[in-house]
C-alpha cells in the first residue's frame, strides 16, 4: 500500500493556561502565565515550591463515576482531552470502524497522584488501607486502556513512556501506523499529573528545578540568561490523527498535516544534554527528511526550551546545525515560559501550539525574557507574540537519557 497522508482533525488541550484549544491558543498568543506556588500539596519543605497547575480542571462529564475514583488525575486528563479531541473532530462512534481506531498515549511517570499514598499505607503497616486493585490503576498501561475502554475504540492501545519525549513519540508511532495503512484513525497525545511530593522531590533532589520560589511568575524563563531550572507542570493533550482519505470521506475539518517524525538519542548522559547538540540536530534533520522538506520551508521551531542552563545552549546550537543560515530567520518560542514543563505531555502541548501557529498564522511569545544570553542568540519571540506567515513548524522535544524527538506539522492549504 502506498503511503497515506496523515492529517490532524481534532484537538483536545488541557493546559495550565487554558482548557480547550481556543482558550489554550488564546492564552499562548497573549502570553498568559500559569506558574504559581504549588497548591496541590504542602510543598513548604521542598527546594522548589512552584508548579504549572491546571487549577480549574474538571473530568469530562461522560467519564462514568464508577471509574473516576480509581483513575489517576493524569489519566483523567488524558481521557478528558481524548473526549474533547473526539468531539472536536466530529467523530461518531457508530459510523467508525472501531477496529481500525487506535489510542497512543505518552507519559513519563505512573499514577503518582492517586496511588502515591498507597506506598505510605503499606509502609505504616496499614495494608487494609491500600486501595483494592491499586496496581491496575498504577500501571501506565491504564492510561490508554481507559481511553480505549470508555470511548469504545478497539484498535491498537499503546502507552509509550519515553520521559519528556513520550507524547511526540506516541504521535510518531500513530503517524507511522496510519501512514502504512494499518489504522485509519488514532487518538494520540499524552498526559501527566506529577505535582506530588515524591515526583516533585525527585527533581528537586536532582537540582533540575528553578528555586526562584519568591517570584514564581518569573521562574520559567527559557533562553533568558538568568534561567535556573525548569518548573514542573501538569496537563494533557490529545489530537485526532487520520488518513487524509478517511478524513475527506467524512468531510472532516483539517487543521494541519503531520508530515515528519524523527527520533535520536545522544547516548551521552542520563540527565544532561550533549553540549554539541549533534543528535538533536540529527533528529530535526530526520523529521525534515521524512517530510521531504528543506530547512527553508520551516518558519517556526517550537522548542523544548525547558529553562535549564544547559538545555537552551545545546538546543540553540542544534537548531543552527540543522537549519544552517536559515536558523537566523526562524521564530523559536518556548511555551514552557508560560505553562512550565508537564513532562510527558509537554510535547503534545507544543504540537498543539504549533497547530495553533498554522491555524492562526501567529506565533506565541517566550515570556519572562529579560537578559539576553549570548549563547542563545536566535529569535525566541521575546515577551510578545506576533502575527506572521507560518507554513511549516518543527517541534523539538528532549527527554530523559538524552532522547530527542522532532515532529513536523504543515499548513493544510492545498486542500482547503
Amino acid at each position: 500500500m502506498t503511503n497515506q497522508r496523515v492529517v490532524v482533525t481534532g484537538i483536545g488541550a488541557i493546559a495550565p493556561n487554558g482548557i480547550g484549544k481556543e482558550a489554550y491558543w488564546k492564552g499562548l498568543l497573549e502570553g498568559k502565565n500559569a506558574i504559581g506556588s504549588i497548591t496541590r500539596f504542602d510543598a513548604s519543605r521542598f527546594a522548589s515550591r512552584m508548579g504549572g497547575e491546571v487549577r480549574d480542571f474538571k473530568p469530562h462529564p461522560l467519564i462514568p463515576e464508577s471509574h473516576l475514583s480509581s483513575m489517576d488525575r493524569a489519566y483523567q486528563m488524558g481521557l478528558t482531552a481524548s473526549f474533547m479531541a473526539f468531539e472536536d473532530a466530529g467523530l461518531d462512534i457508530k459510523r467508525l470502524d472501531v477496529n481500525r481506531a487506535g489510542v497512543y498515549m505518552g507519559l513519563a511517570v505512573a499514577a503518582v497522584d492517586r496511588y502515591e499514598e498507597d506506598f505510605c499505607h503499606w509502609r505504616k503497616g496499614e495494608p487494609g488501607k491500600v486501595s483494592a486493585h491499586w496496581y491496575q490503576g498504577w500501571f501506565p498501561s491504564a492510561c490508554s486502556g481507559y481511553i480505549s475502554l470508555i470511548l469504545g475504540l478497539r484498535g491498537t492501545s499503546q502507552v509509550i513512556s519515553t520521559g519528556c519525549c513520550a507524547s511526540p513519540d506516541a504521535i510518531g508511532m500513530a503517524f507511522d501506523a496510519i501512514r502504512a495503512g494499518r489504522e485509519d484513525l488514532a487518538l494520540a497525545g499524552g498526559c501527566e499529573a506529577p505535582l506530588t511530593p515524591m515526583a516533585v522531590n525527585a527533581f528537586c533532589s536532582m537540582r533540575a528545578l528553578s528555586t526562584r520560589n519568591e517570584d514564581p511568575t518569573h521562574a520559567s524563563r527559557p533562553f533568558d540568561k538568568e534561567r535556573d531550572g525548569f518548573v514542573m507542570a501538569e496537563g494533557g493533550g490529545v489530537i485526532v490523527l487520520e488518513s487524509l482519505a478517511h478524513a475527506k470521506a467524512r468531510g472532516a475539518t483539517l487543521y494541519a498535516e503531520l508530515k515528519g517524525y524523527g527520533t535520536t538519542s545522544n547516548a551521552y548522559h542520563m540527565t544532561a544534554p550533549d553540549p554539541s547538540g549533534e543528535q538533536t540536530a540529527r533528529g530535526l534533520c530526520l523529521a525534515l527528511e521524512d517530510a521531504g522538506l528543506p530547512p527553508e520551508a520551516i518558519d517556526v521551531v517550537m522548542t523544548h526550551g525547558s529553562s535549564t542552563p544547559l538545555n537552551e545552549k545545546a538546543e540553540t546550537r542544534a537548531i543552527k546545525k540543522a537549519m544552517g543560515k536559515h536558523a537566523a530567520r526562524l521564530a523559536i518560542p518556548s511555551i514552557k515560559s508560560m505553562i512550565g514543563h508537564p513532562l510527558g505531555s509537554a510535547g503534545v502541548l507544543q504540537i498543539i501550539a504549533a497547530i495553533g501557529c498554522l491555524v492562526r498564522q501567529a506565533v506565541p511569545p517566550t515570556i519572562n525574557y529579560e537578559f539576553p544570553d549570548p549563547e542563545c542568540d536566535l529569535d525566541c519571540v521575546p515577551n510578545h507574540g506576533r502575527l506572521m506567515t507560518v507554513r511549516n513548524v518543527l517541534v523539538n522535544s528532549a527527554g530523559f537519557s538524552g532522547k530527542n524527538t522532532a515532529t513536523l506539522v504543515a499548513k493544510m492549504e492545498e486542500l482547503c
Binding site: 489510542v103 511517570v109 503499606w122 495494608p127 496496581y135 486502556g145 475502554l149 547516548a267 542520563m270
Partner: protein, 417 residues
C-alpha cells in the same frame, strides 16, 4: 518496500537460568524458577512464592556506583542487553550506532525504588531524597541506562502496556526496522515487581496463587485447578536486525519476525471479554501480515496466566482461530516454569519462540495435572520434543483489554527479497 526483520541475538536473565543456553536447558529439563520468596519476609502474606532471579550479581555487568543508583529492573535490563549484543556479535561504529536503537517493555516502573524512596521521604524528609531517584523510578530509566551504555543513537522507546509491554516493545522495534527508521533494535522487556506491597495486595485481592507448599507446581496455566498468577521477574532482550544488514555481516540468525498486531477489547478494566474477539483478531491479523495460514502454524507460545477465566479466554480464542479443519497446533506457556514477569513476559516468550525455531524443538509446558476441558487444547507436555517447527504464534494479553500477537517463522534465505 517493507524490509525483512530477523532476530540475531538473545540475552536472558531468568529465574531458572541466566544466558540463553542455561535458560533453554532449564526449560527443556522442566526446571521451574518458582520458589519461596527470599527478597523479603513474605511469611505473613497469603502468597509467599514467586519466580525470583536468585544468584544474580549485577557487578558482573556494571560498576558498583551504578548498581547503587539503579533500580533492580535496570540491572536485569543492562545484563540482558549486554548479553544480547554480545551474542549477536554485532560491532557498532559511531556511524552505525545512529541507526541502532532500543525498545524495552516495562509495566510497573521502578517499584522497589519507589518503595525505598517513600520510606526515606516520609521518615527523614525531602532533603534526604536521592538525586538518582527519578531515573530509578521512571519507566524509561532502564532503557536510558542501557542505551547510553550500548551507545545507541537511534530510536529509543519504552512501552508500558502491562503484561503485553515486551511483546509490544518488540512489535515497535519490528516496525522501526521494517520501515527503515532503524537497522538494528535491541528489544525486549525488564521487570522487578517483587516488593511486599505488590505481592501483598495482589494476593489479598485474589490474583495470586497461594500454593506456598508446592512452589514448582503453583503456576499451572490451562489446568482446571489453577489458583492464580505466580509473579516473576527478570529481563530478556533480543537483537532485531534488518535482514540485509545481518547478511552483510554474516550474522547468526535465530528466526524471522513476520507479523505483529495489537488490539483492545474495550470491555473491562480487569476481566476478559466473554466470547470476545480479542486474541482471535490479533492472531488472524498477525498471521495475515506474515502471509501464513492457521494450518501452517506449528507452535502456539501462549501467555497462560494460571487464572481460569483468562486461560479459558485464551484457549477459546486458540480454538476459534485454528479450528477450521486443521488440528490445533501444540500450545506451550512458559509461565508454567518462570511465572509471570509482567512487562518482561513477552520478551521471554519471544526468546523461546526464537530458540524453538533455531533448535527445532517444542518448548515444554509444565504442571498440566488436570487439563481444563472447557476449550480443549493440546499442550506440549513436560518434556521438550523435536520439531519440525516453521511458524510460531505468540500471544500476550493483560488487564485493560489489551491483546497482542507476534508471528515468527523459521529463517529461510531463499524467500524473495
Amino acid at each position: 518496500m517493507k524490509r525483512r526483520v530477523v532476530i540475531t541475538g538473545l540475552g536472558i536473565v531468568a529465574p531458572n537460568g541466566r544466558r540463553k543456553e542455561a535458560f533453554w536447558q532449564a526449560l527443556n529439563n522442566g526446571l521451574s524458577g518458582v520458589r519461596t520468596i527470599r527478597r523479603f519476609d513474605a511469611s505473613s502474606l497469603p502468597t509467599q512464592i514467586a519466580a525470583e532471579v536468585q544468584d544474580f550479581e549485577p557487578l558482573e555487568f556494571m560498576e558498583s556506583h551504578e548498581v547503587k543508583r539503579m533500580d533492580r529492573n535496570h540491572h536485569f535490563a543492562m545484563a540482558a542487553s549486554l548479553m544480547a549484543l554480545e551474542d549477536s556479535k554485532i560491532e557498532l561504529t559511531p556511524e552505525s550506532s545512529e541507526h541502532a536503537g532500543s525498545s524495552i517493555g516495562n509495566a510497573v516502573c521502578g517499584l522497589e525504588s519507589m518503595q525505598n524512596e517513600s520510606q526515606i521521604l516520609w521518615e527523614k524528609g525531602p532533603r534526604w531524597g536521592s538525586p538518582y531517584f527519578a531515573i530509578a523510578f521512571f519507566c524509561c530509566g532502564a532503557n536510558g541506562v542501557t542505551s547510553i551504555r550500548l551507545k545507541l543513537k537511534g530510536p529509543i522507546l519504552t512501552i508500558s502496556n502491562g503484561n503485553t509491554s515486551a511483546t509490544d516493545a518488540i512489535g515497535a522495534g519490528f516496525r522501526l526496522v521494517q520501515n527503515g527508521r532503524a537497522d538494528v533494535m535491541v528489544c525486549g522487556g525488564t521487570e522487578a515487581p517483587l516488593i511486599p506491597l505488590l505481592v501483598g495486595s495482589m494476593s489479598r485481592d485474589g490474583w495470586l496463587s497461594t500454593r506456598n507448599q508446592a512452589p514448582g507446581e503453583a503456576s499451572r496455566p490451562f489446568d482446571r485447578h489453577c489458583d492464580g498468577i505466580v509473579l516473576g521477574e527478570g529481563a530478556a532482550m533480543l537483537v532485531l536486525e534488518d535482514l540485509s544488514h545481518a547478511q552483510r555481516r554474516d550474522a547468526p540468525i535465530y528466526a524471522e519476525i513476520c507479523g505483529y498486531q495489537n488490539s483492545n477489547s474495550a470491555y473491562h478494566i480487569l476481566y476478559p471479554e466473554p466470547n470476545g474477539l480479542g486474541l482471535i483478531r490479533t492472531m488472524k491479523e498477525a498471521l495475515h501480515e506474515a502471509e501464513a495460514t492457521p494450518g501452517q502454524v506449528d507452535l502456539i507460545n501462549a501467555q497462560g496466566n494460571s487464572l481460569l477465566d483468562y486461560d479459558r479466554m485464551e484457549s477459546r480464542c486458540i480454538q476459534e482461530t485454528f479450528s477450521e479443519g486443521n488440528p490445533i497446533p501444540p500450545v506451550s506457556a512458559i509461565t508454567s516454569l518462570i511465572g509471570n514477569p509482567l512487562g518482561a513476559l513477552g520478551a521471554f516468550q519471544a526468546a523461546v519462540s526464537a530458540l524453538a525455531l533455531q533448535n527445532q524443538m517444542f518448548p515444554p509446558h509444565a504442571n498440566s495435572f488436570t487439563p481444563d476441558t472447557a476449550y480443549p487444547i493440546h499442550l506440549t507436555g513436560p518434556k521438550a520434543k523435536a520439531g519440525p517447527i516453521r511458524v510460531v504464534v505468540q500471544n500476550s494479553y493483560c488487564f485493560m483489554g489489551k491483546h497482542s500477537t507476534m508471528v515468527y517463522k523459521k529463517y529461510e534465505k531463499e524467500k524473495d527479497d
